[in-house]
Every structure is written in structure tokens, then in C-alpha cells.
């Protein structure tokens, strides 16, 4: 005979991921690898910004990139060709975000002993990547001018977890009614400590500031 019963679980589905993320962070600290999680909507300029940034810092620190994509490897190839650094593709198998376990699997494929800074280009999406801690030391996001300055109001969680918000495509400012001042105000409503850096990844304008922020971060973290 079978017994029928009810088993109480009462557990958040995110609980395991939080544990995994904290374990990964501790492990990376021990190995001396700084992990940056870079998020944005599709097409806001993650790959272009990374190429510009990496070319400014690759002589100072050892950088590797993981490109998360649902099913292609164009971004990983682009990074490798444009910067010469180690770059791999993570296929998410249809998942719209990366969690700590998938991030760990990606890191296992990098030569971590030769890496100071690992950058994860997350899946293009402003919703769920914000809910899943990847185990990164810091979160960064890119908001591009055509997306509009009210995005921090519409995606509050994403903006509240990011330590730095890069405003990209400032070259097209004249064609959009993007209000940088308002945008900064909205970002600070969500996260008073967030650093806002306007750039044009196409020409490289402003990228020095982001590159310097990253260098300072990695340096400070290593000396902690």
C-alpha cells in the first residue's frame, strides 16, 4: 500500500543560489580573481564597451571574459579578435539569466591562475539577472541613451543592485530626449551609492573613467 502525505518545504527557490554565490565569492577571493557581472538590455553596448575597456587595461592587469548567450558565440569571438585576451562563450541553454552554478562552470573553463579580473557579460535582460546573484564581487550595468532615462523607475531592482551604471551611446543624445540629470537622479533614488559614468563606446569617449574605476576596484579588492 502507498501512503499519501504532505511534506512542508517552505523554502525560497533562490535560497540555494544565494549559498552557491557566497561560496563562489569566497573561493574567488582566495584565488585572487575579481569577478565583475555586467548586465544590460540586449544591444545596449556590452560587448563594444568591454572591447574599449579591456584594450585600456590589459597591459596593467590580466583580464578574461565569459560571454553568456542563449545560443551563439559571436561575442566571444569578437572580444578575442579585438583584444587578444582569453574569452569564452557560455551557452545558457535557453535560460534568460546566469546563476552562481552556471557562472562557476564558466570559470572552470578559464585559466584562473592567469587571471586578475574575470568579466561576465550576462544575458541581455533587465529583469531576472538582477534576481540571481552570480557570485560576483561587483555588479555593473549599461543603460544606452535610446532606451530612455526612465528605465531606473521601470526596473528598480536592477538599478538597486548595481555599483556602477554606465550610460552608453551619448553620441546619439541629440536625437533622443534623454535627460542625463534626471536619469542620474532616478538611479540615485534606487541606489544612492551607484556611480554613473556617461560614455560613447563607439568612439571611446568617457571609457577612461570606467576603465579607471575597474582598475581601482580590482586593486583595492586585492589589497583588502
Amino acid at each position: 500500500m502507498d501512503q499519501v502525505g504532505v511534506i512542508e518545504i517552505k523554502k525560497s527557490v533562490f535560497a540555494d543560489n544565494e549559498q552557491d554565490a557566497n561560496a563562489l565569492r569566497a573561493e574567488l577571493k582566495q584565488k585572487g580573481v575579481y569577478l565583475l557581472n555586467l548586465m544590460s538590455s540586449p544591444g545596449s553596448g556590452k560587448t563594444t564597451t568591454l572591447i574599449q575597456t579591456i584594450n585600456r587595461i590589459k597591459d596593467k592587469i590580466r583580464v578574461a571574459v565569459m560571454e553568456a548567450d542563449i545560443d551563439s558565440d559571436v561575442d566571444a569571438i569578437k572580444i578575442k579578435e579585438a583584444t587578444g585576451i582569453e574569452s569564452i562563450q557560455l551557452h545558457t541553454g535557453g535560460m534568460c539569466h546566469l546563476d552562481a552554478e552556471m557562472t562557476r562552470q564558466g570559470l572552470d573553463n578559464l585559466t584562473l591562475e592567469n587571471t586578475d579580473l574575470a568579466i561576465l557579460e550576462n544575458v541581455g535582460n533587465l529583469v531576472c539577472p538582477a534576481e540571481f546573484d552570480t557570485g560576483s564581487c561587483r555588479n555593473a550595468m549599461i543603460l544606452s541613451v535610446p532606451e530612455g532615462h526612465d528605465k531606473p523607475l521601470k526596473y528598480p531592482l536592477m538599478f538597486s543592485i548595481c555599483d556602477v551604471v554606465v550610460i552608453n551611446k551619448i553620441d546619439v543624445m541629440p536625437y533622443f530626449d534623454f535627460d542625463l540629470e534626471k536619469c542620474t537622479e532616478y538611479i540615485h533614488m534606487r541606489n544612492p551609492k551607484a556611480k554613473v559614468i556617461p560614455i560613447c563606446a563607439k568612439t571611446g569617449e568617457g571609457v577612461d573613467a570606467f576603465a579607471q574605476w575597474l582598475l581601482d576596484e580590482v586593486h583595492e579588492w586585492k589589497n583588502q
Partner: protein, 118 residues
Amino acid sequence: MHELGIVFYIIRDVKEVAEQNNVKRISKVTMDIGEVSTVIPEYLKDCWRWAADKEEVLRGCELEVNTLPAVSFCEDCRKEFPTVAHGKTCPHCSGGNTYLLRGNEVEIRDIEVYSNEQ
């Protein structure tokens, strides 16, 4: 698409509980989902059907979703109010100094199981 990811987490968690408890089959999983959790119950159920039927222990298993109301708190007048109806603006004092108290949950409440008699 996000719902499919959530379904994979639910499956992983309930399978683990099933193994620990000598469970032969799970006939129902009940979730507590907050109104503002970004999980859409209908999508979740669709993804669930597709993914659960691929698992022996979950074949035919029903997913029940229990919606939890979202409640915000106003720092200015220190009162609570329903988030979905009023958003970020307090209906008591019209202040905007408010934050979410609950309604963000994505929790597995319990599972209904058939176990082998010992």
C-alpha cells in the same frame, strides 16, 4: 522565459526532498508567489507541465500557485498599504517615502506525495 528557469529550481528542490523522504511520486507541488515577484503564474504552470512530465517522480504532478498580496510601508506616516493598487505613493499621506514589506516571494510551500510503506 524566466519562468522556465524557476521551474528548474523547483524541480531540483522537490526531487531532493523526495529522495530524502523515500517518496515514490509527487502528486502536487504548492507554491507561494508574491504579487510583485515578476513570476507570472500562468507561464509558470505552462513551463511546469512541459518540464515536470520529463521527470519520473513528477509525471502528471499538479502545480498549485497561491498568490500572496504585496504590502508596502510608508516611512512618513508609518502605515501599511496594498502595493499593487497604490504603487510607490502612500494612500494615507500621499508621501513617496515607501518600501515593499512583502509580496516578492517565490517559495515552495509543500508537496503532496505517495511514499512506499516502510
